[in-house]
């Protein structure tokens, strides 16, 4: 390796080291006073610090991404929940109004949301019904 190239590498290493350490008091380092062993040590420490910084950045970026994802998920979930609740309220209210108009007892058509959503059997015989509302299709 030529002396010029070696010198460039050393200068670059010191530059990086100062940058990552945030040091300013190394401006007067005389490269000629550093032994090969010291230069190797300096290079290793610099590389180690750079790797540490890189991992920290990676970890930080991951945390930020995770937090953003969680926030997005939470907000989306809330929006979906609010929309579902609103939509449920709408068709249920229409179904209950029809049931009330036709005097269908709640034993046959529950007036509680949870019971209505879990309904598997609907027995509406002998109710004198002349129409079935479209909202019946919302039952599972």
């Amino acid at each position: 390796m030529s002396k010029t190239l070696l010198n460039d590498i050393i200068c670059y290493t010191i530059f990086i080291y100062k940058e990552v350490k945030g040091l300013t008091n190394m401006a007067n380092i005389d490269l000629k006073e550093l032994s090969v062993k010291e230069l190797n040590s300096l290079a290793r420490e610099t590389a180690k610090e750079l790797m540490h910084r890189k991992n920290q950045d990676k970890k930080l970026r991951k945390e930020i991404a995770q937090e953003s994802h969680n926030n997005f998920k939470s907000n989306s979930s809330d929006i979906v929940k609010m929309t579902d609740t609103h939509e449920n309220e709408e068709w249920m209210n229409k179904l209950w109004k029809w049931a009330n108009d036709n005097e269908i007892h709640e034993a046959y058509l529950p007036r509680k949301e949870s019971q209505l959503l879990n309904l598997t059997t609907l027995d509406l015989q002998h109710q004198k019904l002349t129409n079935i509302p479209a909202e019946i299709g919302c039952l599972i």
């Binding site: 059997t121 609907l122 079935i132 019946i136």
Partner: protein, 77 residues
């Protein structure tokens, strides 16, 4: 199971076709004049009762084919 027997129905809302899990539908003793088209998409129907309605004609060949392909029980009338 959906029991709508003994009412005064002559039609069903198209939205009833959304009840994909429905396996039993009793529409007997109503006022239907024809087979409700709305039930054709209920692929899981296994028992359909349409007896004692206002059908003017015998059950059509189409209805029999429908029963055959969906595996429904024979109509009672």
């Amino acid at each position: 199971m959906f029991n709508l027997a003994h009412n005064k129905l002559d039609k069903l809302p198209i939205e009833i076709s959304r009840l994909k899990e429905l396996h039993t539908l009793d529409l007997s003793y109503n006022r239907f004049r024809r087979k409700p088209k709305e039930i054709e998409n209920l692929k899981n129907i296994r028992t359909l009762s349409l007896n004692d309605n206002n059908f003017k004609q015998q059950i059509s060949v189409e209805m029999e084919a429908f029963n055959y392909f969906t595996g429904m029980l024979p109509l009672t009338k």
